[in-house]
């Protein structure tokens, strides 16, 4: 479904964010990007969302080079992706309800569908009583859950979640993981970027470790720490 072919991204200040990334993600897969802050996880996600252009290499999505898309075709591509941004990126002038409804309006859903689906999505993330609140009236955790509701409402082909449990307590984090697992079971490919060890260890899915812009590990059904480093610790 997604193929990174020797992708590098250098910034104008000569700071290289990711180097020679070769990565294939299959349809329906649940993949976890791990690594310390500044390792390049978010850059990879930005490249995938066409928010940034690679300096070298190509990214294919269902066989299409996404950075060759015409400007008019970019929205249709992005509508196939649900994103939980690290900084939430909520619409400040819209209520909780309207933020979720906006994603549905974008793909041309009818008002009746929106009325039926949005309350369910808000209930799923525990915001059913905050429908009329504006983002600045919500706590950090509530904003994060709202971002999740917006990302999953259209049952996208791909769900990108950048540190979706960053502001949540352990109980709420588990709830978010359950939602991500559920949506993955329904056929959505999920890319989760996190440096939360508990999250990765609970999931035990494919783990791609990124360090200083390089992929240093790519293992199926893995934990936060690889077997070798675990063995080292035991010794």
């Amino acid at each position: 479904m997604i193929n990174f072919d020797n992708v590098s991204k250098k910034y104008q200040d000569k700071n290289v964010s990711v180097h020679n990334i070769d990565l294939t993600i299959k349809k329906g897969e649940f993949i976890t990007f791990i690594g310390p802050s500044g390792a390049g996880k978010t850059t990879l996600l930005k490249l995938l969302l066409t928010e940034e252009k690679p300096t070298e290499g190509i990214i294919h999505f269902d066989g299409i080079n996404i950075h060759n898309l015409r400007t008019v075709d970019v929205p249709a591509y992005r509508q196939r992706i649900g994103v939980v941004f690290q900084d939430y990126k909520l619409l400040p002038n819209k209520t909780t309800y309207e933020n979720v409804a906006f994603a549905m309006e974008m793909i041309g859903k009818s008002d009746a569908d929106i009325k039926a689906d949005v309350p369910h999505a808000l209930e799923l993330v525990g915001l059913d009583e905050k429908g009329f609140s504006f983002p600045d009236q919500l706590s950090g955790g509530e904003q994060q859950r709202l971002a999740i509701a917006r990302a999953i409402i259209n049952q996208p082909d791909l769900l990108i979640a950048d540190e979706p449990t960053g502001s949540l307590d352990p109980e709420a984090s588990q709830r978010v993981l359950q939602i991500l697992k559920k949506i993955n079971e329904l056929g959505t490919t999920v890319i989760l970027a996190t440096h939360d060890r508990d999250v990765v260890d609970t999931l035990q899915r494919r783990v791609v470790k990124i360090d200083k812009g390089y992929i240093t590990r790519d293992e199926e059904k893995s934990l936060y720490n690889d077997k070798e480093s675990d063995n080292d610790k035991k010794e």
């Binding site: 928010e51 992005r78 994103v83 990126k89 002038n93 906006f102 974008m106 041309g108």
Partner: protein, 307 residues
Amino acid sequence: MSLKLDLQRIVREGLINFWRNKLVSFSTLMIVTMALLMMSSLLFLNAVMDFSLKQLQDRVDINIYFFPDAPEAEILGLQKRIETIPEVKDVDYVSKEKAFADFQERHKNDELISRSLEELGDNPLGASLNIRAFESTQYEAVVLSIESEPVVANSEFVERINYYDNKTTIERLNEFTHVVRLVVYGLIVIFSLIALLVVLSTMRIAIFAARKEIIVKRLVGAEHRYVRGPFIVMGILYGAFGSLLTIIALYPITRWIGNYTKTFFGGMDVFNYYLLNFLSIFVIVLAIGVIIGVVSSRLATRKYLKV
């Protein structure tokens, strides 16, 4: 997505944003209103200038003076022919009797003249034709046409045509009119541009405040029209409400200024002009307001749509 639903959502969002961003909407609306007031005052300036120049030009005329013994039938015949010249607005015939009566009336307090007239016993004045053209620049052509008339060219009836006495004055007036028009049109263009730039900058600031929203919308897959549309709706609202406020504000302003223009500019009352042309002024101001609103919101959003 159906076009109707699309449009409905864009308009709804524009209206909601206009209402929710009260402070930004209010300040933008005030700036748009000020700009429209400035532009409409230029409309009034143009009208006052036209009126005043017209008044000035209407005071210019040319006269053909006939000898006292010129037959009236010849003069009336000539009057008919002059009236057919396209540039001629009207021709007044002043008979020798009327000329004499007017002269007497003018000099009734001058004993010397009164006594001289009594001694003469007869009317020494001739008849005259008083000719006015539509524009002061047309007198040259009118005089040429008149001079080609056989009655004028080969006749002993015509004493003189006063165009040549007034030629320099008429030419100066034409030059003055031309310069005044140029200056006023220049002012209109300059101040319209200033008003346009002020509105554009204000809209840029208003949209700069919403740049994050635009970027987020783009990132979650909103199409250009969906991102830009609500801002254009807001631009239309600024223009429409701005023109409404302008037309309301013009009522007391023109009423007050009208008192002064009545005495200064040859009798033109701008308040009366406002009342008589209310609908056309409103339509012009509304059209300018809406066009400025749409153009400036389009320009101001362009930068952020590249994401």
